[in-house]
Symmetry: C2
Subunit: 188 residues, 2 copies
Amino acid sequence: MSLQHGILGLLSYKSMSGYDLNKVFNESINHFWSAQLSQIYRVLGNLEDKGYVSSQVEHQEGRPDKKIYSITDEGKKEFRNWMNDNPEQLLSPIRDEFMIRIFFSSLLPKEETIFQLERYNKQAQELLKHCHSEDQVIDKYAEELSLPNDKLYWRLTLKKGKMITEALVRWSEECIEELKQAQKEHQK
Amino acid sequence: MSLQHGILGLLSYKSMSGYDLNKVFNESINHFWSAQLSQIYRVLGNLEDKGYVSSQVEHQEGRPDKKIYSITDEGKKEFRNWMNDNPEQLLSPIRDEFMIRIFFSSLLPKEETIFQLERYNKQAQELLKHCHSEDQVIDKYAEELSLPNDKLYWRLTLKKGKMITEALVRWSEECIEELKQAQKEHQK
DNA sequence: GGAGACATGTAAGTGGTTACATGATTCC
DNA sequence: GGAATCATGTAACCACTTACATGTCTCC
């Protein structure tokens, strides 16, 4: 459901091919909803079957043909309905494999868990750096699509990304600290 | 994969029926990996097919029979292998429908978005309260199963839950603040 | 008398991943 | 010569959700 509506939302900004959509997606919705290109193509097919988008082939010299998708009036209606119909439960279910590993880490030597937490911390810091560079991307898109009203909301989603990622960085640091402490206690 | 290994992990603590497993699951792994009871039954079936768990039926007076699952040596080996084999990418992909809605919220009146953010904030606070009450659950299980070494790691997963949820509470508050501000600017 | 705990599962459907298939052009 | 970009998709498989099916006991 969500991916479908995310794609409808992007197409309401601008008609695009699946390939281009994927690029825009990766710089926006992908931060809170991951998707493979193949899945995007499938969803576009489904949306077309339902009449929410229409497509038209654009011939290109020296490059493969493009299939440009546009949102239909039906699609716009569907998207607006979805936007107006929030679920009871707003918090999304969590699926965090790494936490399962941490949960059962008494099986492993503490050094190994510390090592993995350090990797985790590095990846979180990397992601945080990436988040900080996204401010410019927002400016770029807001200008390109001339949608100044949307910038505010895009920033709010980015802000969430930053805050969560900062929490992950801090969490993993504190975990490492605690485990090192526990190691010392044990050596005494 | 993860659910399978989470279940193997819990069964390595203690043999249980699917029904009991579900209860333990809901007070532990469910905080970072959600699952329906029906899915747990199916995974148990798969694990049995693979020889990672074995089952034996326990007859009960006045209550339905129980099917007690136990982890096999094969299962223990599989679980340990999984624990030793961390993926490259430790950060889990995000799937957050609410963020898609925020992203496209320029479509809606600001009051509506504020209203939904307030609901979000309330739910996050509710969850945070719940997290704080979990400390006792950890103590209870550690004693019941006499696994004092595991408590440390269980606490680390709980800590992550708290930190993330605190970030969600703060984020939604700041969003509401920003939107109210934007509303005022507009009225001028 | 009804709700909820106890207990097990199947069936249908959805949404997603990974791998595969094709083939030209451009840049290093 | 090889990798990356451009461009489209299908097929097989997997994990998960929702709804359905069954039936007893206990507590209010």
